[in-house]
């Protein structure tokens, strides 16, 4: 019996190896992986054009949700099954660089004379370390305020006024006045009216996702506009979370929810995203990233608008995060992979992506295409685009140990917002712990 089995296996193997090879044997199939499911169909359009122009190269696009993406990618580096090209994030860049899993593109860029100034300023530079380029600019994101048009109108506020909001940690500026006015309790009393019951709020002025260590969409734009510097420099080793500017900002945010009742508190913010709270009509304003424009547009039945983040003591600031496409160093088809990456970062593909209106591509012509696509659907997205300049943005903090640092900082910020202790002390302890890792 056993021998028969082995014989059968041997026979099958022989048959397989004897069977004629497929006609397209010389075809190279490249795998391209990303975490955003909304983008996969759009990049398929790019892939079709690319395949037509490059016979012999096939593109296979795979997608894995953010939470699994990095685990899958890392383990596939080990097992030698990683995708040839993958969408890369700045938080992973240092770790991937240290471990040599990416290909340096600078020589190929020079050989093909690719113009690295064809992107929005800053997007190519963040992926450059000591003259070596580890990724080609793909897209970018900024933060803006998403608001419910009807609630704004019902409160007697002009949309124009939302464009000139200011904020400071002392009295919250015109932003806090606005949020107070937009908050409604169950008796219909507004937050700035006498008799407002903060324990029975029906609609909150302000809601965010649960906080994380960077507060990209939750508080970073306020803190940095108040003078907070998350890290000393790109690839730095000194985090600045002990800064009073951050403690003041988070204290204001804590009190806005716990003392005043104008914002959803950390304890009331479940794992369902702020998008869900907004779509359910429980919040008037949610600060969120440009990658979520489509989600708000599709998830909420109400009319929505976007306003720029408020002007703080040091001006308007949004985090500016640039994604890139990188080539795996273990890829067997690096020449073909480079062709694909060059196409992805080129004008044709980025214009296709822009037209789909899911993200803002790295090239200005892609951004214009995206703005027009949104305009066709009656959405003015200029609040995101106007901030995409070096003066009004700050970069995602790039450093080693990003995952561990993020875990430590998340807990510290959570504790501040949950009123578990003195903000300055909690943040200083976390900052010491983080800086001790280097």
């Amino acid at each position: 019996m056993k021998r028969h089995l082995i014989g059968a296996i041997a026979a099958t193997t022989a048959l397989t190896s004897l069977s004629p090879l497929p006609a397209s044997a010389e075809d190279v199939t490249l795998t391209y992986t990303m975490w955003d499911g909304n983008q996969a169909p759009v990049y398929r359009q790019c892939a079709d054009k690319f395949e037509a122009a490059n016979p012999g190269i096939k593109i296979k696009i795979s997608q894995d949700a953010w939470d699994n993406y990095w685990t899958t990618l890392t383990t596939s580096f080990v097992s030698g099954t990683a995708p040839d090209v993958f969408v890369n994030h700045l938080s992973r860049f240092p770790e991937f660089l240290t471990n040599g899993v990416m290909v340096d593109l600078s020589e190929r860029i020079a050989a093909d004379q690719v113009d690295m100034n064809a992107y929005l300023p800053g997007l190519a530079e963040v992926w450059n370390k000591d003259g070596q380029q580890w990724g080609m600019p793909k897209d970018w994101d900024t933060i803006a305020l998403v608001y419910n048009k009807k609630m704004i109108a019902d409160a007697g506020i002009k949309e124009e006024d939302l464009k000139n909001l200011d904020w400071n940690p002392k009295d919250g500026g015109s932003l806090e006045k606005l949020l107070a006015h937009l908050t409604l309790d169950q008796n219909g009393k507004r937050g700035d009216e006498p008799g407002f019951d903060k324990s029975k709020v029906a609609v909150y002025g302000w809601a965010t996702d649960r906080t994380d260590g960077y507060g990209q969409t939750q508080w970073s734009f306020l803190a940095v506009s108040n003078g907070f510097k998350p890290i000393d420099k790109a690839w730095g080793t000194q985090y600045g979370y002990d800064s009073p500017a951050l403690a003041e900002t988070l204290t204001w945010q804590r009190d806005l929810a716990l003392k005043k009742g104008f914002a959803l508190s950390q304890e009331q913010t479940g794992k369902l995203n702020a998008t869900a709270i907004f779509a359910a009509g429980k919040a008037a304003i949610v600060p969120d990233g440009s990658w979520n424009i489509g989600t708000y547009r599709d998830a909420s039945k109400m009319e929505i608008g976007f306003a720029p983040v408020p002007k703080g003591p040091e001006g308007r600031r949004s985090m500016f995060n640039g994604l890139a496409d990188s080539i795996w160093s273990g890829s067997q088809h690096q020449d073909e992979a480079w062709k694909w990456v060059k196409y992805l970062s080129g004008s044709e593909c980025q214009t296709i992506v822009g037209k789909a209106g899911v993200v803002f591509p790295a090239r200005p012509e892609g951004v214009t295409a995206a703005e027009e696509a949104h305009k066709a659907k009656n959405l003015d997205v200029s609040a995101f685009v106007m901030l995409a300049t070096p003066e009004t943005t700050f970069p995602f903090p790039i450093s080693d140990y990003a995952s561990e640092i993020s875990t430590v900082l998340t807990t510290a910020v959570e504790n501040v917002l949950l009123d578990k202790g003195d903000p300055a002390t909690l943040l200083k302890d976390a900052n010491d712990q983080v800086n001790g890792m280097f």
Binding site: T74, L264, Q266, T269, G270, L272, E414
Partner: protein, 301 residues
């Protein structure tokens, strides 16, 4: 001659029986070797190295273990896990026992048992997702109800003080049915005449439960306690879905901490060291439990 011959044939027959027996256990044995023993040995090996997955592992001896002793996050996770076991096991076991005795003594309908076991048929991830939505502080059904009856909204999974109790409650909700079913099966093995005799002697329900049911149920009780204790120490999926170790680390149980180290921080060696410590602890706890409960003996003699 004759004797020797029969001995030979008996030996041959025995060898053949051994072979058949081995053949029967082979699938389970192969599964055990490939999916349990090998990974365990490999984990022990990895735990002696510094390995970030992407570069070759570096041998570091017992450094991971010594680091563990001074790691307050590890001790915190051990304590949090212990708290979870304390919330989970007594309630789950008592409820399961109560349901089993009630359905044995009062209502022996199959449909009733089917309802009791239903939550167990839902996967942990789905159960966690459903409860995550129902317990949401603002949008959840449960909080809507609590507000109507005047208790007011609770943070549940979003509150550092309530998250662990909420996770334990979700697990209890899901597992009590299975526990009840196991107890119910155990109750069927108790001879009915013992109850009749006791009743003739004038014993009440409580005395019968205390003197007959409980002692005779001990082997089943031991099985339930051992398996549910091991399961509780390894709580992971509900936490991965519902809280991700938060808020404020209040549900950062050992398995979540292992997962973080292995797949978020890429510290494979350290993660393996924690796994080995958990493994050894669980073996010791199980041995102790078996001994205390005299799990290998029955009182039915």
């Amino acid at each position: 001659m004759m004797k020797a011959g029969s001995n030979v044939s008996r030996a041959r027959r025995r060898r053949k029986e051994t072979l058949t027996g081995l053949l029967f256990v082979a699938p389970a044995l192969v599964g055990f070797l490939v999916f349990y023993l090998l990974p365990t040995l490999r984990a022990i090996q990895i735990s002696l190295t510094d390995w970030n997955l992407m570069r070759a592992p570096k041998f570091v001896g017992f450094a991971n273990y010594t680091k563990l002793l001074g790691d307050e996050n590890f001790w915190h996770s051990a304590w949090v896990t212990f708290a979870y076991v304390l919330y989970n096991i007594p309630i789950q076991t008592a409820l399961g026992l109560l349901l089993a005795v009630l359905s044995d003594r009062l209502a022996r309908a199959v449909s009733l048992r089917a309802v009791i076991i239903a939550p167990y048929l839902i996967s942990n991830v789905v159960a966690a997702l459903v409860w995550l939505m129902m317990l949401d502080p603002i949008l959840g059904l449960v909080n809507g109800f609590l507000e109507i009856v005047g208790i007011g909204r609770q943070g549940f999974l979003a509150s550092p003080d309530q998250a662990m109790v909420s996770v334990a409650a979700i697990s209890t909700w899901r597992h009590t049915g299975l526990t009840a079913l196991l107890f119910y099966a155990g109750l069927q093995a108790i001879p009915r005449h013992l109850y009749e005799a006791a009743r003739l002697e004038g014993a009440g329900e409580w005395t019968m439960f205390h003197r007959i049911t409980l002692p005779l149920l001990r082997p089943v009780l031991a099985f339930v306690l051992v398996t549910s204790l091991i399961g509780s120490f390894q709580v992971f999926d509900v936490i991965a879905v519902a809280t991700a170790g938060g808020p404020s680390n209040s549900t950062r149980v050992i398995l979540w901490y292992i997962y973080e180290n292995a797949f978020k921080f890429n510290k494979m060696g350290y993660a393996s060291a924690i796994s080995v410590v958990l493994f050894v602890t669980l073996i010791l706890v199980t041995l102790l439990q078996m001994r205390l409960l005299k799990a290998d003996q029955s009182d039915l003699t």
